[in-house]
């Protein structure tokens, strides 16, 4: 059973455009929602993360929007660049369990066309 559902599976965006990736979860105990970026042959790298007490977090061109009541969160990449072409994973974890193991979505392959 997939704890975190992610869409779309793939996304093609023109350079300078906005990339939007969506995720949904069911477990209301989740209290930490990171986004990871993964390039081929590399491990995932943390991009940006949010906790459920805020509705939005922005770091440079990357913004997470969080809707607690809908149990959804999304990643927006503004002014998308060819170098952003990678696979993006949303994830969630429960801090108070002590393990903090991440539950990942299935990934979105982003291609930014020059």
């Amino acid at each position: 059973q997939q704890q975190v559902k992610q869409s779309p599976q793939s996304l093609i965006v023109q350079k300078g455009g906005i990339s939007i990736i969506n995720c949904a979860y069911e477990n209301t105990a989740f209290d930490y929602f990171p986004w990871y970026q993964q390039f081929p042959g590399k491990g995932p790298a943390l991009l940006i993360a949010i906790r459920p007490d805020v509705s939005e977090k922005k770091e440079g061109r990357f913004t997470i929007s969080f809707n607690k009541s809908a149990k959804q969160f999304s990643l927006h990449i503004m002014d998308s660049q060819p170098g952003d072409s990678a696979t993006y994973f949303c994830a969630a974890s429960i801090r108070q369990t002590g393990a903090n193991n991440l539950f990942f979505g299935t990934g979105t392959r982003l291609t930014v066309i020059p």
């Binding site: 042959g41 491990g43 974890s93 393990a99 903090n100 193991n101 299935t106």
Partner: protein
């Protein structure tokens, strides 16, 4: 400083062989995680260590999978009698402490079972 390193980067095994995958976490990191990433999927949690203690092994798919971290630093994931369904990338991640959610991932070991 050095990140998480894993070895070997690639491993080809014949069905039925035993394999051992090594993870060197970031120095001083207390928490260590193993994940399995099938082709085109997100990473899935296997097991978790806090120092040398294996606190959660609920994600290990079968009793053929065994992980250890005897001195609280380097960890080894062992798979006995490998099967074709074990083919995947095995990712190791470390985190500073339980209070810090950011996990730093290694590049992974790509295991192919023929």
């Amino acid at each position: 400083g050095a990140g998480v390193s894993q070895s070997p980067r690639y491993k080809v095994a014949k069905r039925g062989q035993d394999v051992a995958l090594r993870c060197d976490p970031i120095s001083g990191h207390v928490s260590l995680f193993w994940y399995q990433q099938a082709l085109g999927q997100g990473p899935e949690f296997l097991t978790y260590f806090q120092n040398e203690a294996q606190l959660d092994k609920s994600g290990l798919p079968s009793d053929r999978f065994f992980a250890e971290r005897p001195e609280g630093s380097v960890s080894t994931l062992k798979i006995q009698r490998t099967q074709q369904e074990d083919s995947a990338v095995y990712l190791c991640a470390s985190a500073l402490t339980l209070a810090y959610n950011e996990q730093f991932f290694g590049p992974g070991t790509r295991l192919t079972v023929l």
